[in-house]
């Protein structure tokens, strides 16, 4: 099973500079655990200590925001494409 994962600039320090890595998993949670084995530290930037997805990271499966697909429970299939983008946000305070 191969899932293509596109990595944003700010997280490429965990993938040896790679823009795209491959992983496997039936759910997003499984995929992130799989990726963390080969790219330690990556999962820690995406999942909080509470076990939920980091609020200011956007993850998409085949261009759909995983927030609408069950977040970490989002189902994945062979050949899916996952894209990670840091949210662009800020405020006055």
């Amino acid at each position: 099973m191969a899932i293509e994962v596109r990595i944003p600039t700010i997280l490429r320090q965990y993938t040896g500079g790679a823009k795209v890595v491959n992983g496997s998993g039936d759910t997003l949670a499984d995929l992130l655990a799989d990726l963390d084995a080969s790219h330690p530290g990556l999962r820690g930037r995406l999942v909080t200590e509470d076990g939920g997805l980091h609020r200011f990271v956007n993850i998409y499966v085949n261009d759909e925001d995983v927030r609408f697909l069950g977040a970490l429970d989002a189902k994945l299939n062979d050949g899916d494409s996952v894209t990670i983008l840091p949210a662009v946000a800020g405020g006055a305070a």
Partner: protein, 163 residues
């Protein structure tokens, strides 16, 4: 240093004024590694707040994908502060996720003037940089048309009239 065209800067300021008192936000894309902001992309602030901004996730994917297809990167990421100075807040600095971008802050707190300042934000630390505004309407490479009797060093007879 951020080098930016007058026309693009004016468009960013106009966007900030239009959305005031909500924070406005957007991107200026440019060819990868060029450090030239060339294509202004105003973004929707889904927070619609006077104290917070956030790009809509689906729109951000579309814009980032489009930049990738065009071999561009976000050269400038801008947003406005509507009641405070044009300086990155703690939130701005901690959330900045594009280390190669120039973070442009626009303050619309004064109705009579707009404050614009630029910063590099890397690993949560903001460092201010100068902004150099270039006027693209004065193109040093343009052929200047001279009337006879004025003093070019050479006259280009191949130059089409009016150019």
């Amino acid at each position: 240093m951020l080098t930016i065209g007058r026309d693009i800067l004016d468009a960013i300021i106009a966007h900030a004024r239009r959305d005031h008192p909500d924070e406005a936000c957007g991107v200026v894309a440019g060819p990868i590694d060029s450090d030239r902001p060339e294509r202004h992309i105003p973004m929707d602030n889904i927070e619609r707040s006077s104290t917070f901004y956030r790009f809509d996730a689906a729109e951000q994917l579309r814009v980032w994908r489009e930049m990738d297809d065009r071999d561009e990167e976000p050269v400038v990421i801008y947003h406005s502060h509507t009641a405070t100075e044009a300086y990155p807040s703690r939130t701005d600095s901690s959330l900045a996720g594009e280390p190669r971008a120039h973070y442009l802050l626009v303050s619309t707190r004064d109705p009579d003037g707009t404050e614009v300042r630029s910063f590099r934000i890397v690993e949560g630390t903001a460092t201010e940089e100068p902004v150099r505004v270039v006027d693209a309407s004065v193109d040093p490479a343009a052929v200047t048309t001279y009337m006879f009797g004025q003093s070019p060093a050479a006259v280009d007879y191949e130059c089409p009239a009016g150019r």
